[in-house]
Symmetry: C2
Subunit: 594 residues, 2 copies
């Protein structure tokens, strides 16, 4: 035993006790007569005093201490002298008077201190992750992560779910994202793929009668990395047999309620609200709307058609949409310059051809460069439609439906934050349901699965499956927290014929489907129960419950946007012998297909 | 909601209740007037009765039911008629009288039935794993696995361990087993490696101040597969800071006690017994001895030296060893033919040049083909040394120490089982400690790490580190259950200089060490606490606590010995486009280096 206590547990009750502590030198202050060290470990900090009573040798040694040195100290717990009690520290009433000091590991001058005020650059933090992970906020986040996952596991165990591990070395069935591949040494020329999710394994488990499955599963996607994506990520993976949508939603509702209560003290009313995909697109322009504030999208296509404004008119006549939002009371917060910025924002980033706007003046008049194209009567209708009051700022986009969605969703999000329309510590949970089964890929002119090819259509939509796939709605449900997709699931197809039909709609030939998903098509004929499930993004949950805005801060050893681990220098070159055994060769630049 | 209850929860208390059940047709019996179906799910079986009361249509439909069909039945719970109560079934007092039947999924004639008595061939089981996993013993095993892992997680959480996920996409640092490699698309010509264990990440976490870490971690080794190895396996991975060997052992002792009690009702006395590596090799010839029975190895080199038996004499004179075991009372169980078999066993499989034996006759005489080479006096000494009594059977191997270990360990194991020297349901837990730091690889004439290169030598052995590496003992400890290594750990080096020295001894140049482990060598200079840990083999634990003898039966979706998944057909070929993006090419047979 190197220590008798941790640095977070000594109190007045231990005064007089001889103890041994170990930890890092968090800070030190030389007060002439003695040296005061705050000794730190994961559990807290304890003040250690080196004074003449420590003995000459110990005092002398203590003078060499620097921040982040790892030391072991023996001594007696004393009450701090009057006036020096530190109420901010849980151990602030006591101090350890050191009589024996051992330096367990001397710290070289580090590239940055975990205790420093200003955050070092992210690359430096990632390279020296052992220092970065000592920062209190990182420790709190990883503790929170551990706690969230434990809470989830406890919850699912209480509900009789079985935790089953599914393989990491699987079969490549590219669909959606790119697979990470692993060459096989035993089977030359063949590859394993890392799972994008355990989707088919969990469905197989339902067919094998496991009834309720849960796993905290590592998933892999070789995507072009966006700010909030990692090559590997963790999801809470759930599947249930003999259920419909509301059974799955009910289980997750309970988890949300428990987590919100235990982690944030928030009382969540159940059931969580549900909104259809179509309604979400109509009211918020997005399938993961932030419902902590209003400022909904309001359609004015009919009014625009009546105006003399050429742009509005032609958009309306083409069957496209004129929609807008009303930023209540924000008129004087957006100058011409800022409005130009917003215009650029929606046109550069979201493809809108322009941004129309109205400001409501004190007398109720609508001021706008385009106001002259509207009759008084029409302006009145506009005001009514947008519930316009003096001081309001109305922003309008006229375009294809999808462009109005993207642009107005982005505007609403930006203005919501800029105008502080919500309390960032508040949390809002809801479900978006009834997603389309398919998206139409315009470029390749083919249908793609909106969730994945194993999603069941609603019974009443089965008839449209072939005649009008775009009309078909899936039994799908996404959990949305504060405008982020925090999970998504579906009821799965458990009928071989429907599964084959969907594969066909997605452009797979019968052979192709058999080659890739033959085992699933087989299993569906050997006693497959109705089943469905969901996956929750754990990195995202940690981010949301931790109030963080960088996904890399929620992961102990994340990768950069270029998919590199700066600490271990992965990926890296490997010995030629390793590649020879795998029978693969790296192509030189000039051998690459252009 | 598809069902109101599961098939395992209805009892007499529910008589009269209308319920809906879903499940698989486990069996059916047509009794003329009606059809009796045992409906099965994970929770149990319930008898469903189709009779004229069910209505003509339902009864008609029920006649088509076959095993493994998935059905939904509605009806009323009735008491079973007198004399038909089934006390073996938890629901055996009641039956469901069906009035509505829905066939949710019809089962084609399956390649085998999960309920059949004789076990199908393993390849067939693996190909149709969804059927195989329905077998009751497989369900029990995976439930046990889930329970063991949950129990471990609960235990470590109670002891303030933090569950931290470490990366699967890491850096290749080949040492020991082969790495599985993953080509990077972003960094052409570079590769990630799947972790053989999270060893360095967990050490980094200790240096980052996390103090107590736990993870149920997936590990990967591209080895030539032995019967009990899988390309991917799961370990309970633990690391602790500011600890010595007994702290780590103490934590695991507690886990063993709790697991044995909760799963098997066994009271384990703590602390678990510890034995040094040297003692284990001397007494059992192996570092993971089965301590459920005696029959220890007994040395007789000194006596052999006095004999006239040329083989014994020369072995003793060469400084090698003559050792044996006494199979008490087994003399008449081993005929000449069986002894010949044992002789072949130790020579073919374990390199022994022969097997000498003595049988103790009723009058106390030692009968043996070689007895003539021993004086009466010497025979008496032999008898005393081996505690030989009439009916005993003594087997002796004379060879190099390592050969006597292997051969006698194997003999002891085989005879222990054949002679039923232990109760297979009994469990024995112990620690083997003080392993050598290094093994000498005779072929390559170099030192290799017995555990791994991060293992700390005992303080008192530091002086031998360079002068006599073979003498150096590590602070290492293996948990042994019933003669299987169920876990292994060490205290790690936390001193940069010692770490460099060990790398050097293992034949790594300074540059090489820096290239591969630079981040570790750095971290060791920025405040690294003393630390150590352990990893427990979860697949092995499930096997031992489940009383199973095939590791593939402990895993939901295992791979074959050729590392293939027969259900999904992994590994498989991939599209040329995928390889082009990765800038790699598969070599043809004729391009492979011979």
């Amino acid at each position: 035993m190197l220590r008798t206590h941790t640095c977070g547990e000594l109190r007045s009750a231990q005064i007089g006790l001889e103890v041994t502590l170990c930890g890092w030198v968090d800070s030190y202050r030389d007060h002439g007569g003695g040296l005061f060290v705050d000794l730190r470990d994961r559990y807290g900090k304890t003040q250690v005093v080196f004074s003449p009573e420590s003995g000459a040798a110990v005092q002398e040694a203590s003078r060499g201490l620097r921040c982040e040195d790892v030391i072991k100290v023996r001594g007696t717990i004393n009450a701090r002298p009057e006036g020096t009690v530190n109420p901010k520290l849980i151990t602030g009433e006591i101090e350890l008077r050191c009589v024996e000091l051992e330096i367990l590991n001397k710290c070289k001058t580090p590239p940055f201190l975990p205790t420093q005020q200003d955050l070092p650059g992210e690359d430096l933090r990632l390279k020296h992750r052992y220092l970065d992970l000592r920062r209190p906020v990182m420790q709190e986040t990883l503790l929170l992560r551990s706690r969230i996952i434990k809470m989830m596991r406890d919850y699912f165990e209480e509900h009789q779910f079985i935790d089953v591990e599914t393989p990491i070395l699987g079969r490549s069935t590219p669909e959606g994202a790119r697979d990470y591949l692993v060459p096989s040494r035993v089977h030359h020329g063949q590859f394993y793929a890392l799972p994008q999710s355990p989707q088919l394994y969990k469905q197989i488990l339902m067919m094998a009668g496991y009834d309720r499955y849960v796993q905290v599963a590592r998933c892999f996607r070789d995507e072009d990395l966006r700010a909030d994506r990692q090559p590997e990520f963790t999801q809470l993976d759930v599947e249930m047999a003999f259920v419909d949508k509301d059974d799955v939603i009910g289980i997750i509702d309970g988890l949300v309620q428990k987590t919100a209560k235990e982690l944030k003290g928030i009382d969540v009313q159940l059931p969580l609200p549900q909104m259809t995909f179509d309604e979400a697109m109509e009211r918020y322009g997005h399938d993961a709307p932030d419902l902590r504030f209003g400022m909904e999208l309001i359609d004015a296509t009919d009014l625009a058609a009546e105006s003399d404004f050429r742009v509005f008119k032609s958009v309306a006549e083409a069957g496209n949409r004129v929609r807008g939002i009303n930023a209540k009371g924000a008129a004087d917060k957006y100058s011409r310059r800022l409005i130009d910025e917003l215009t650029e924002f929606v046109s550069n980033d979201f493809g809108a051809k322009g941004l129309a706007w109205f400001k409501v003046e004190a007398d109720g008049k609508l001021a706008s460069p385009i106001a002259k194209n509207f009759s008084e009567e029409l302006l009145a209708k506009f005001k009514e439609r947008y519930d316009a009051e003096p001081g309001d700022f109305i922003l309008i986009v006229a375009d294809k439906f999808s462009v109005t969605c993207k642009a107005l969703y982005a505007l609403r999000k930006r203005l919501g934050a800029e105008l502080k329309l919500y309390d960032p510590s508040e949390m809002h949970f809801s479900w978006i349901v009834e997603f389309p089964m398919f998206d139409h890929d315009e470029e390749e002119d083919r249908w793609v699965a909106m969730h994945h090819p194993f999603t069941a259509p609603r019974a009443q939509d089965l008839e449209h499956l072939e005649s009008d796939p775009g009309k078909c709605r899936a039994i799908a449900y996404d959990l949305v927290i504060n405008g982020s997709e925090a999970g998504g699931g579906t009821i799965r197809i458990h009928d071989n014929k429907i599964q084959q039909k969907v594969f066909g709609l997605l452009g797979m030939s019968e052979e192709d489907a058999k080659e890739r998903f033959g085992f699933l098509l087989d299993a569906l004929q050997y006693g497959a129960p109705p089943h469905g499930g969901i996956a929750l993004g754990i990195d995202r949950w940690v981010m949301l419950f931790g109030g963080l805005d960088n996904i890399r801060d929620c992961i102990a050893f994340p990768k950069t946007q270029r998919a590199a681990d700066l600490m271990t220098d992965a990926p890296g070159e490997v010995d030629r012998k390793q590649l020879e055994e795998l029978a693969i060769k790296v192509l030189r630049q000039d051998e690459l297909k252009k």
